[in-house]
Symmetry: C2
Subunit: 359 residues, 2 copies
Amino acid sequence: MISQERESGNAATPGVPVKRTHVHPVTLREVAELAGVSTATVSLVINKKKNARIADETRQRVTEAITQLGYRPNAMAKTLVSGTSKFIGLVADGVATTPFAGQIIHGAQDEAWKHGYALLIANTEGNRELEKDAIAMMLEYKVRGILYSTWFHRPTDIPETLRESDFVLVNCFSPEAGAARAVVPDETQGGQSATEILLRGGHRRIAFINATTPAPARDGRLQGYKDALEAAGIPFDPALVLEAYPDQEGGYGATGQLLKLEVGAVYCYNDRMAMGLYDGLRENGLSIPDDIAVVGFDNQEVIAAHLRPPLSTVSLPHYELGAAGVRMLLGLDAAPLESAVKIACPPVERASVAVHSPA
Amino acid sequence: MISQERESGNAATPGVPVKRTHVHPVTLREVAELAGVSTATVSLVINKKKNARIADETRQRVTEAITQLGYRPNAMAKTLVSGTSKFIGLVADGVATTPFAGQIIHGAQDEAWKHGYALLIANTEGNRELEKDAIAMMLEYKVRGILYSTWFHRPTDIPETLRESDFVLVNCFSPEAGAARAVVPDETQGGQSATEILLRGGHRRIAFINATTPAPARDGRLQGYKDALEAAGIPFDPALVLEAYPDQEGGYGATGQLLKLEVGAVYCYNDRMAMGLYDGLRENGLSIPDDIAVVGFDNQEVIAAHLRPPLSTVSLPHYELGAAGVRMLLGLDAAPLESAVKIACPPVERASVAVHSPA
DNA sequence: GAATTTTGCTAAAACGCTTGAACACTCCTG
DNA sequence: CAGGAGTGTTCAAGCGTTTTAGCAAAATTC
């Protein structure tokens, strides 16, 4: 065999004499020919097989041929042989849409890369049909596994086709226990940390504006608040817990109620609420943190870091979620089936809470 | 390499005779056997070749076999044959890091998907070495082409290896003319639109707080301001153009100077500046839009839509940039080499500019 | 110096699919 | 009824790798 002849040039176009614009298609065989060895040898050299015995001189010759020709392995051919690609799929319901949840992609991509994997992403906008197609595509490309992620922490059910592959749920979990590996933020610890920021500021009477919308975050963040109070020996007072829709308007609208509580500190369900609350407090002539200390939750950079004063808050560890998802998928981190792995939400202290007790 | 063995559990470890949990590897051949035809026939059925003549009865049988077996084509094998995959690469210097530029990914992914392509993304954080690896990876996977994107509009030089593939620059451009296809936001039109929002509000004396940092945006947005004034028959007054660092602090810090100008309207280089300016103006007891109308630029949702009052601004069309990049790559949109294609920055009017003239 | 081991390399069979050429029919057409 | 035209299907040659078994020559052993 060893069919097609070539005019001397470069650019191999098998069969057809037309030149490709982009030069490359240099194959293993061409390298082998130039180096005067078999393709097997070249393959062995490239993959640095430890128990392959290759003379230094040969290895040398092959390496030279490779660089001289500018050879690039064809990953498809490799994958075909090995049966699985160096891809990890990431199915997201809206991660690319939502600014800060984009960090999930970022974390997954960094971690994947670290282990020699590339990310194949698909944004499904929650569309079930699209989602199915996306998963099918990933399976066809023989991904090593799939990360199924949501833009906010919530329960989800698992698409049937996902089961055809290894997978890990990221920022979501299956309501049926034992159904899947999953990694989520530790809302409770986060709520506790947020409250502790205020406790450290010397506050003992702390309000919490929770969300009206049911979600794991709503329960967890409240629980964390209670835990922190208990640890500090402060009795929990339900009257100090307000509720509002978790956005700027909600925060702004909660101002009135909050003022009635006459607290010196308030912990908001999220940063957007805190942002609205800032406006409300300001309109009432109150200054942060002197009249009232505020902490948020989420650490949405654009907001939290740039409010005046900058907002103390707790980070939603999106980057870490993505990274941990990849590690769990690859079997590098423990990944119990029984319950989701929880990633810490680290506190970020800024100027919205004074360092010393104002009391 | 491929070290750890596993007890039978799941997780196929190549080499070991352990069964895969995930059943699939159903091949064309198996389908063919079940249907009692050759693999060629099955292939023809699947790909719906128009000039393939297949009896309805046969087609039927094959289709059944396919669903019965849950057959999934192996995309790698397909690609190997065809020479190019259904992948489009997206190399980003920080798109995933930067919240709103993430829309580039989103737009690219939607558009790619629409044409049957999947996105292969790599975030390089501007690291040249990583970038090279990322591009190499994409070339090895025989991507149809590569989108090279930056998180803010700027000139860039083109990595050598990028030339081995089709590519389009997104949100950036090459300083050497004719070097590459590129798509960027139309800063000038954007600046003009921003200014026009204020003109429509009845303002004739409009300040512009430009950035101190050199960038295409800085020049373009200023030019747009001038164009808008000229079109309205208002002479350009350099005294009305201030400069500040383009972030909240900068905007806040520019308040003093701005007040000296005694203008009723101000156009800020970006939303973050406007956000800072809001604080500055408020501290001086001025109300927006009654005492002073404000427009920004970028339309960073988290900021612009949720300030009080919501900020009128101009959208940086990240989504469209991504989508247009894909279309240009696939040859669906014209893509001149001489100069970058410009995408409009549509105005977004909110409450920071009053509808009627306050004059 | 024969037997054995080691070293260096290659042949060739996969991997799962596509595709043009070829084959075997059945219908027409004149 | 021979020759041509359709029609339905299969053959077999790739696509670019990896990898195992095996071969020949060189080195080592006794």
